[in-house]
Symmetry: C2
Subunit: 452 residues, 2 copies
């Protein structure tokens, strides 16, 4: 009897997590992964640090190579293969070897779609110029770093002021470049409420980054084939290099073409077990939607944490077990120019849109005891329901030790704690780590008072 076969499309976080978990539960399963690029399981989140030179070698970003997957886990990874079609009725996929251009067909009993996401791009004149880099793949990062290492680059323009955009801005500063950031919105980090996000922009401005808000590029000027300026409705910004950090969209075309239903923001519709609408086909990672942990609404969270958790759930279920993805709060953290940023749950703007009655409180404190060296300012904003007092969201901006405090708030959100209950948490204190009242407690206390 032939063993059952799992085919995975996409060899990154979600796909390889699922393959590994399925392998652990099912030693008999045949597992084949198609990956269009040359790498598996690399940290896309590490790219800005590699470009900035803090991580010397791109290979350090790779958690596990195709060879290791083959040798240690008997998972066959076909890198350099793009899947071109899914045939759900006959349970097979077609793929093309990108080097030989040879087409091949692979049958499956179970199929996991883990095609990830694509960087948002711009369809404007001059887009074809050299030295314009969408920040998405490790191959692209290697090319970008090679361009920087070659010298000659003095100025960079970052399009998009999300997490990746700001991390890239810092990476360029670190390499001594003049940096400008263009953002179509009126603030950086639209995952934060404006008054919190503005603090982050100010920190980057303090290091010399110039921001141009509500100024999307309308064209790129080039000379000798390479970009030499970005044109906006208001100005022409000379530059030697452009990167895109405008966010991502789900790479769900293949699924759509196979008749699989798409959901929010074009991500593959999935249930909590990561099944799609078609039997035997699963989806996980940046290509798939997730329920929001607070609202239950289908949401899109293209985050490494979510991709790994999706993959684990899919892997257990594919192997015949039962696992459910409980949902996500979109918890995230980043760091730019010494400013740490954390976010979890719902924003004030989202609560307004959903017409949920809420209270909001923002406090300022310090990350350590005021007298301890390196005590930095921290601002925490908390949101809670006016109906039951439960926490609905949290945002943190501050210096050393600020960002990871978001995890306490995420834990409280997930446990359904009220602002009052959070204000009574028994959090740790010592001068190198916190004031005696941790800033999270101060914020929760004030919010609880407001709710009354």
């Amino acid at each position: 009897m032939r063993s059952e076969k799992l085919v995975v499309i996409g060899g990154d976080a979600a796909g390889m997590s699922a393959a590994s978990v399925a392998r652990r539960h099912r030693p008999d399963l045949e597992i084949i992964v198609f990956e269009q690029g040359p790498f598996t399981s690399y940290s896309a989140c590490g790219i800005p640090y590699y470009v900035g030179g803090m991580v010397p070698d791109h290979l350090s970003l790779i958690a596990r190579t195709p060879e290791t997957f083959r040798e240690k886990q008997h998972i066959r990874v076909r890198t350099g293969h793009r899947v071109t079609g899914i045939d759900p009725r006959n349970r097979r996929v077609t793929a093309i070897n990108l080097e030989s251009r040879r087409e091949l067909t692979e049958s499956y009993e179970q199929l996991l779609i883990a095609t990830g996401s694509r960087a948002m791009d711009l369809e404007v004149p001059g887009r074809q110029a050299a030295r314009i880099f969408p920040i998405k793949t490790l191959e692209g990062a290697v090319e970008l770093r090679r361009t920087l290492d070659a010298g000659q680059i003095r100025r960079a323009v970052v399009v998009g002021a999300g997490y990746i955009g700001l991390e890239m801005a810092e990476a360029f500063l670190r390499r001594g470049l003049e940096v400008a950031v263009l953002e179509k919105a009126s603030q950086v980090l639209v995952t934060l409420d404006a008054e919190m996000a503005n603090q982050v922009a100010e920190a980057l401005e303090g290091e010399g980054v110039r921001f141009f808000f509500e100024e999307p590029p309308v064209a790129f000027e080039m000379a000798a084939g390479a970009v030499q300026a970005v044109v906006t409705p208001n100005r022409t910004l000379p530059t030697d290099l452009v990167v895109f950090g405008m966010g991502v969209r789900p790479a769900s075309e293949l699924a759509a073409a196979a008749g699989i239903e798409l959901g929010v923001q074009g991500a593959i519709r999935t249930d909590r077990r990561m099944t799609t609408g078609i039997a035997g086909i699963w989806a996980a990672g940046d290509c798939a939607e997730s329920p929001h942990l607070l609202t239950g609404q289908p949401s899109y969270f293209p985050l490494g944490t979510v991709a790994n958790r999706h993959g684990r759930v899919a892997g257990v279920n594919i192997a015949g077990g039962h696992a459910e993805f409980p949902g996500s709060l979109g918890t995230s953290v980043t760091k730019a120019c010494g400013m740490e940023v954390g976010q979890t749950g719902l924003l004030e703007s989202e609560l307004q849109k959903m017409a949920i009655p809420y209270a909001s409180e923002k406090i300022s404190s310090h990350t350590r005891s005021g007298y301890y060296p390196g005590s930095d300012p921290i601002t925490i904003k908390l949101l809670a329901s006016l109906e039951n007092g439960r926490l609905l969201g949290g945002q943190i901006v501050g210096g050393r030790g600020a960002g990871k405090r978001i995890d306490v708030i995420a834990t409280a959100l997930q446990a359904g704690l009220t602002a009052e209950q959070v204000s009574e948490l028994d959090l740790s204190y010592a001068p190198p780590f916190s004031p005696v009242w941790d800033p999270v407690l101060i914020a929760a206390r004030q919010l609880a008072r407001l709710i009354g």
Copy 2:
């Protein structure tokens, strides 16, 4: 009509928190605080950093002076006054002015006992020698630092390897001294299980600290009135200075003499509103007991966080409101020689003593993504109930970013989450802050598997 009077005995964290909160709720209240030392509201936890020279001035450790309390909050603080007796029947206290030796009497309607704790001392020959310092008061710290600043001190012996003892050991290293630590137990930090604590000892040994376990001092040798050696059953250790960091005991003698019931470890018996057994008399801070948040058992937590929370609860109740202290997990954090340590909830040894069926898991990971500069090892130990899967305790030892992760575990404990639920928390990730699976999630996942 005369206004109601609140008398507070002790002008530190618990006493001044209570006085401030009572003032906010009751502008009419007359508030008098007796404090035997010259200072109010100082950070005892900051003393090791002041002695080590990281905090230049002892005045920076003072959060609020007696003058500020008087001017901003109309709270009269009588520093240099020791309360010598409580007369509950006639509702008055007697006190002595330590300078003039004049005795005085003060009546009260409400009395808060916030007498704090005393450093454990040793009754051995030679104890009266100069240069032996119990680490407890700011006055004592000023004297210790003056001794160090005068030069001539090359060697120090720390008696006791708890948090304060290890922080003092590091302070002395920082000042270039040879440091030995004597501890009567067989490990450092008895608030941790041995295998976790041993990692901390190794880190300090790596910096040159010598440990002598199960070696309590039996005598001090002196020359010209000053200590010159510590004698143990096994050796004589020459030294220029000795500090005690053997923990504290409640300063509850005054309460006991007034007929107030004492509880665990000699701390004043209190209920959740911080009342004592006698009407109109409250107790808060290091002199009072607390319920353990998990077991409900009366416990003794001489921690700054607990003292402040006690004080707030007492203040609300004294002012006629209603507040309850929910209990403590004993959550704590410290740092010694680059090693961060966090602890919350119950220890394995405590669970064994209480015959609670539990599962235990210990994992090793990193504080940041492995490729990110400054990624340090971290060890997390988690304990959970075998009956319902709920988390019962957590311990963390590791490098930069390790310690404050204990707050996520404390939050989970307080919310009653199971190991399985903790493993599904949506915690934040970015390379400068965490591996994609936060170490807390890894530990919880493994523990959940173990429980099955």
